[in-house]
Symmetry: C2
Subunit: 347 residues, 2 copies
């Protein structure tokens, strides 16, 4: 067909679903003329004067980033949201996506329709268009890659490197729900009520990219990124890129009621909350003088924004209690730091 096209020899006996894909995906391009209705090899994009593109690209693999039997519409929506979260954290307004999907041979029309329904729903929710991509068959697991396009006023994007000593460190929403949801999804946290488990699992399956927060932070925040690899690791990235040290106050972390319940029952869950990842919240720093404006943004959007620490001279990340004493956090469940071996978590 096209930008989303077939480049595979047919598999004898396999259902030929690629025509169906064209039929299902083309409507998602309708609002964007440069998508050429997904009938060409490429898409065209105009960028208004004074605006700068912000680009991100994330892949998800079945069995690694999601379960192969997760609902197809939620897989599609998570894929979109993971990418939009990156754009939001840069202060960018999303407007387009490109999708490349490697579908296992056994993928059937029912699954594809539900997947496309999920894409369509979030294209509507976030006012974005599918402007191109590729579909191929794979003998391996479902592998999805999205490139997402946003815009910021020229030169105003929030970077990891922009934090200034003395900045307050802020976090949107609540922390750890998704990582705990993954534990619950795998049969853990049996003591939790069904409604608490459902809340956490829903947060794991369907992140909420903070698209209304990001653009509102331009002019207020110095630095921004999303929390996807775990708070401590991501704060570490920001501190390192800004040439600073970060101190995180564990007592200030915004936790949902289910996360609070979980932590109260088992203090070792703190490691999962701090390091589990997949939060897709916006982590940003701002001077104390903007705290009032930031709280007004929170009130306006209905999304909690919470000060969780401060940036200062030095390096590394230190997790402390309200009295400034270092908090020992078990490394269980954490991801190993790999960034050129430079970064150490010093909590």
């Amino acid at each position: 067909m096209a930008a989303l096209r077939r480049r595979n020899p047919p598999v004898p006996g396999a259902p030929d679903e690629f025509a169906l894909i064209a039929e299902l995906f083309a409507p998602l391009s309708a609002s964007y003329p440069g998508a050429l209705s997904l009938t060409d090899d490429a898409a065209l994009m105009d960028v208004p004067s004074g605006r700068q593109l912000v680009l991100t690209m994330d892949s998800m693999v079945a069995g690694v980033h999601f379960f192969a039997d997760d609902p197809p519409d939620l897989i599609a929506r998570k894929l979109i949201r993971v990418n939009l979260s990156d754009l939001a954290a840069k202060g960018a307004q999303p407007f387009a996506i490109m999708l490349s999907a490697a579908f296992p041979h056994a993928t059937d029309g029912v699954w594809l329709r539900r997947f496309a329904q999920g894409l369509a729903e979030d294209c509507r929710t976030f006012a974005i268009a599918l402007i191109g991509g590729d579909t191929v068959a794979t003998p391996g697991p479902l592998t999805l890659t999205l490139t997402a396009f946003g815009q910021v006023p020229q030169g105003r994007a929030l970077l990891r490197s922009g934090a200034v000593a003395g900045d307050q460190i802020w976090l949107s929403g609540s922390l750890g729900d998704s990582a705990l949801g993954l534990v619950a999804r795998q049969g853990g946290l049996p003591h939790l009520s069904t409604s608490c488990r459902d809340h956490l699992i829903a947060r794991y399956l369907l992140p909420e990219p903070r698209v209304t927060i990001g653009p509102g932070l331009i002019g207020l925040a110095h630095a921004g990124m999303d929390v996807s690899d775990g708070l401590i690791q991501d704060v570490g990235h920001m501190a390192r890129q800004s040439g600073l040290a970060a101190e995180i106050r564990v007592d200030l972390l915004p936790l949902s009621p289910p996360a609070q319940t979980t932590l109260a029952a088992d203090n070792s869950c703190l490691a999962t909350i701090l390091g589990g990842g997949d939060d897709y919240e916006v982590l940003f720093t701002a001077p104390q003088s903007e705290a009032g404006a930031i709280q007004r943004l929170a009130a306006h959007t209905g999304i909690a924004l919470t000060v969780i620490g401060t940036m200062g001279a030095g390096q590394g990340v230190r997790v402390v209690d309200r009295d400034g004493n270092a908090v020992a956090v078990a490394h269980k469940g954490w991801r190993h730091f790999t960034d050129a071996g430079e970064e150490q978590w010093s909590g």
Copy 2:
């Protein structure tokens, strides 16, 4: 690390190669400030006034689009070239790529270094920068996705839909080498000399995107696309998108000496040449009045440009001999048409 970042839990016992990836890939971003040295979650892109972005995205899966034991540097370079071919056929000048790679757990440092060397070599060759992407681990086959960025003068891109009745149909380079190279790579064509086989296999492993042809066609050509799915299928796409019929003269097809030799020995190879795909040549149409300018472009670039047929009223693709008689071509080796079932090859 970043735009190219890790979002996988470590695999116990697996070598942790992600730090190496950061080390190997970051230098490829050096020429593009908006890549932020691959240390952020996103890349920034400015588009000059009067220019339009052209975007394409293609995936390649080991065992489907290449052999898992192909040389890693050639896999990387083919990935880049397949995408640049799409841009070239739109008349676009490439300048940046984003890469998402799902690496099998067994991927080792030696392989990664050779893969990165291939990326680096073609980034230099084509003056493009790696500006972001993602790296993940997969339990499945190596799966690579590239998003490539080019620019054209605003509104001047060559589309599939631009052909006009009476246009000559042109093809760059030579046809069928790659498809025959795949046959040779799999042990076929035993009668060919070693040098002929090597030529064909090299064309399969390493396409030549016609980046010097594409931008030169703006103002001369009416429509353009690259030949990746097989000439007849791709001509069919262009004819359908332009609302026209195409007639291809089989005696005019530009064939390399090894392809000529192969065809002379076995006439059934015509189906492979016409339908095998992976040619990555530019297919374009232009009014006869521009034939002289197009020949000068060929002379200037050193790349053959050949008239292979004409566009006219009607629909479908007809393959004829020099006397206008329909040529029967066996469908062996062809890909099944799937585009909404509308398109029929009528050769």
